[in-house]
Symmetry: C2
Subunit: 222 residues, 2 copies
């Protein structure tokens, strides 16, 4: 409490809170916008105000990973972008497997937000023979039975699950057996994985519930 | 630290951390699964273990909103479901407007996860006259110019933005002008709103970045 300068934690020393990792992604987005708009440097105050955080929050979050600012200058945008990408692991390219070629899977194949951040869907899979064969959005499509071979051949470590809820756990199990290390699950169901596999669930109704909570608990609204 | 029984906070007394609200949605999902599987009661230990949280975390989260357990019984599932829905505001039905009828918008029209939680998309909008007119997945579609009239007529308070990044802020502004209180934004760009409007951004690449962070920082992986 009395300390204002904490020793910097290295990643090996302790876990970084998940919320800090999420905010790194937000800082990265704003830094990319700033560079696109011609800015060479920025400050914790500017970054914070763009995102609705305090400058202290920005400094504290970045301090988990090292010292990035320069006295009298602030942060050099492209340098900080490179550092944040290195921390997030997105300084390399990550081929991603997508399973499920229904409406959602097809939408994700065309989602610009992935490409913008260096993720490319390298292969897409479905159990329906009618849905696979021709490339969609330039992504080759395969029957799910070819999963292990394609994942190994393309050295894929990340996968997106966009299948119906009833099939999600089985698909996750097959992905893990094929050597996938991280799964983003869009099926509206909880999927479990061994502790050495990272699982992130995207339940879009949860996001809507956060909205309804905010709306019903906002004093000015009924 | 020494206290084990904290006074319960009412919603009016202080802000509930966002992470707690997110976990409420997860508890709700697990409670719904438990009821579907024929369970009448549960415990903080069971709920926690289903989600990978400690029982203390579950009790602490629920304690923000009141006392829900019974000595020697635990939680009555349907009673706790009703309470959590009331807290989240999903004990009522929320008609939702969707703007953008590209791949993502069409996928969201068919997303089961919304219907499962009582959200129904009541109207969908696009600026392209070719995309509107016939209902899609039983949802009526309209030109964006009809937004204000339809939102008022159907008493819609929540909206989903699934338009290209360049159009997202303008669409949000039009939604807010039409009386929308909460916006779920899927466009890969930061959209700002006045403080009395709740804005939740869904940046799907952020979720993937959380995965890459976990994968690169897991000691057992290279």
């Amino acid at each position: 409490m009395g300390e204002t300068h904490k020793p910097k934690a290295t990643l090996a020393e302790g876990a970084v809170p998940k919320a800090v990792v999420s905010r790194l992604s937000l800082y990265l987005r704003e830094l990319q916008h700033l560079v696109r708009d011609g800015n060479e440097t920025t400050s914790s105050t500017q970054l914070g105000s763009l995102l609705g955080f305090t400058d202290a929050q920005v400094r504290k979050d970045l301090a988990y990973f090292g010292q990035f600012g320069y006295p009298g200058i602030g942060y050099r945008c492209t340098e900080l972008i490179d550092a944040v990408k290195r921390i997030l692991g997105t300084d390399r390219s990550w081929p991603v497997a997508l399973v499920g070629l229904g409406n959602l899977g097809r939408a994700l194949l065309g989602y610009r937000g992935f490409q913008n951040q260096g993720f490319s869907i390298a292969a897409a899979f479905d159990v329906d023979p009618q849905k696979v064969g021709p490339a969609i959005e330039n992504v080759p499509t395969f029957h799910l039975d070819e999963l292990a071979a394609v994942v190994a051949g393309k050295k894929i470590k990340l996968a997106i699950v966009a299948v119906p809820a009833a099939a999600a756990q089985e698909v996750a199990d097959r992905l893990i057996a094929a050597g996938i290390d991280g799964i983003l699950n869009f099926a509206p169901v909880t999927v479990t994985a061994p502790s050495n596999v990272s699982m992130v669930g995207v339940d879009l109704a949860i996001e809507l519930e956060q909205l309804t909570f905010n709306v019903v608990n906002q004093p000015s609204k009924s």
